[in-house]
């Protein structure tokens, strides 16, 4: 039984004086101390208590939580360690940044703090966001919140597990090829990757700049909406930031979405062979619920989505090889001591701090961009990327949303897939397309398998239809509420 089921419940408790921000914060901090799942890498106890006291002052002044002005007042959250906080250790899950203290705070985090959020700490992740199980962290794996022999998913494994284990009420993750949606699905919580450009990437340690997006992870879709409203909107510090204001997702969720006549596209390619049967049946049952509410399920095709994993493991690794060139030991990050030799030796010794998966992807990306190979690999992958985006544009001419599973299976066992990188990569086949196309996509819980492992339903929408997407997911989440 979670302390609080949602932000709304927490705020109701604050209003009724049944709980106070400082009490609640101390409670979550104690839970983190007693937890063995390794979700948090850094706990910002002092900062959290200062923020909690400030929240109490606002509460006593206003009488009740001013939900419009401070929509996240007194809400304890965890932040993926890929997001910079001024003066607070930010590691991106890597030895390379083991003791790195950023000189600025990520825009999205600044906005959440301005909205009243209490930051409990920084959350464990796959190194430089490269991974799907949180087994690639330099600081140890994260354990699944309910099944400790299983992975929580990745790369936002800490962000998902922390919410799932009730160590915070909501968290921020990042999603480049599924890194919010997959762990959300495995851990039985909700998580969303917004339309590319809707949330600033300033302060997000870059993995693949054309794919990365920051997004919320929480117990409810409404909470995801509240967090997105607070942090979305144009940021001049991010050149890829869309020229739009913040979302109005909470409003859209509250207004409700008419499901009668809603056309939901079911891609043939999203129900490929090899899916765990219980995952498929849970997803199909969820879709039958939508149908029972008057939605139309429309079979569609995304003919080039079979290339998505290939495109991703060329494009993302190419961008990563470029983005990670900055880790040279000169201005920040790991620097080996007593290096004999020239600058090249110096760089090599500094870059020894990368873990194997990171090295693997840098090599792949360097290869794909190198003279003589760039046309055959990187350029061609970008061409196929446009085909994948066109498939979606075409599909959305005849459907409003697209649905399918998040992953082929539920959470697998620790150590099960580490030996085979390609196997691990194929796990992302349903989530990658949304990143390539820049479209909003989320995971909402839709059941469990016979081992009690959670299953997520994935919903996608056209670019900038984030609010509608959340409203549709909210209806499903609340389906048993009269």
């Amino acid at each position: 039984m979670a302390r609080f089921g949602s932000i709304r419940e927490l705020h109701d408790a604050y209003d009724a004086k049944k709980a106070s921000p400082v009490e609640v914060t101390r409670d979550y901090l104690a839970a983190i101390r007693g937890s063995g799942i390794n979700a948090f890498l850094t706990v910002t106890e002092q900062r959290a208590l200062v923020q909690a006291k400030a929240a109490e002052e606002i509460l006593s002044r206003e009488g009740k939580v001013p939900r419009q002005k401070f929509p996240l007042l007194g809400v304890p959250m965890g932040i993926k360690d890929a997001l910079t906080i001024d003066g607070v250790r930010t590691t991106a899950g890597s030895r390379m940044l083991e003791n790195y203290l950023p000189p600025y705070t990520a825009t999205c985090v600044q906005r959440l703090e301005a909205a009243g959020m209490i930051m409990l700490g920084k959350l464990n992740m796959d190194e430089f966001a490269m991974g799907g199980s949180n087994e690639n962290s330099a600081f140890g794996p994260v354990l699944h919140p309910t099944h400790p022999d299983r992975v929580p998913g990745g790369s936002s494994g800490g962000s998902a597990a922390a919410v799932g284990a009730d160590l915070c009420l909501a968290s921020l993750g990042s999603d480049t090829g599924g890194s919010i949606r997959l762990p959300a699905s495995y851990c039985g919580i909700s998580g969303m990757k917004p339309t590319y450009g809707r949330v600033s990437r300033s302060g997000l340690v870059a993995f693949a700049s054309s794919l990365d997006q920051v997004g919320p992870m929480a117990r409810t879709i409404e909470d995801c909406a509240i967090v997105l409203d607070a942090m979305s909107g144009h940021d001049p510090l991010d050149g890829t930031s869309a020229q739009r204001g913040p979302m109005r997702a909470r409003e859209a969720v509250a207004e409700g979405l008419e499901l009668r006549g809603l056309r939901i596209g079911i891609p043939e390619e999203f129900f490929a062979a090899g899916m765990q049967p219980e995952v498929e049946s849970a997803a199909r049952e969820a879709l039958r619920w939508y149908e029972s509410q008057g939605a139309k399920l429309v079979p569609i095709r995304l003919p080039n989505s079979g290339y998505a994993v290939s495109v991703y493991y060329v494009v993302a690794v190419s961008e990563a090889s470029s983005n990670l060139a900055r880790y040279d030991g000169v201005r920040y990050g790991f620097r080996a001591s007593g290096v004999e030799g020239d600058l090249t030796e110096f760089y090599k010794k500094a870059r020894a701090a990368f873990g194997p998966e990171v090295k693997r992807r840098i090599i792949l990306g360097t290869f794909a961009l190198s003279a003589g190979y760039a046309e055959a690999y990187y350029l061609r992958a970008c061409q196929v990327r446009r085909l994948i985006r066109r498939d979606f544009d075409e599909a959305f001419k005849s459907v409003d949303l697209i649905a399918g599973p998040v992953a082929p299976t539920t959470a697998f066992r620790l150590g099960e897939k580490v030996q085979d990188p390609l196997q691990m990569y194929l796990n992302d086949l349903y989530t990658i397309p949304a990143n390539l196309a820049g479209l909003p996509a989320l995971s909402v819980p839709c059941g469990m398998d016979s081992a009690g492992l959670p299953i997520g339903l994935q919903l996608l929408a056209p670019a900038f239809a984030d609010e509608k997407l959340l409203a549709a997911a909210h209806r499903f989440e609340r389906r048993e509420v009269r």
Partner: protein, 109 residues
């Protein structure tokens, strides 16, 4: 000059792994060269399927930002650099070795 053909028929050699690692300023042990070469070959074989796609006349899509309205450019405006409590530029605070207001590195040659 024609690009090199996709080496799907020829397995990736350790030599190429070493060359690419050098480009990326990564130092690999012999064991790493061996295991990476094998893994890379597997991945490259898989992504070789991209050669089957019909991309004639298709413009590469580098980023969804190209599909957004409004540009990505804005005017450069100089702003004061953040400083630490001691007045030094914050950007130097994480540097392992600083000299005056610069980052100290070994010689290039």
């Amino acid at each position: 000059m024609p690009g090199k053909s996709v080496p799907s028929a020829q397995p990736i050699q350790a030599d190429l792994t070493r060359k690419v690692a050098a480009l990326a300023r990564l130092e690999l042990s012999d064991a790493e060269v061996s295991s990476f070469t094998k893994q890379l070959a597997q991945v490259l074989e898989y992504v070789g399927q991209l050669q089957q796609a019909d991309v004639s006349g298709v413009e590469p899509l580098g980023s969804p930002v190209e599909l957004q309205e409004g540009g990505v450019m804005r005017d450069d405006e100089a702003r004061p650099s953040p400083t630490s409590a001691d007045g030094k530029p914050k950007v130097l605070s994480s540097a392992p070795e600083v000299m005056l207001d610069g980052f100290k590195v070994p010689p290039i040659l």
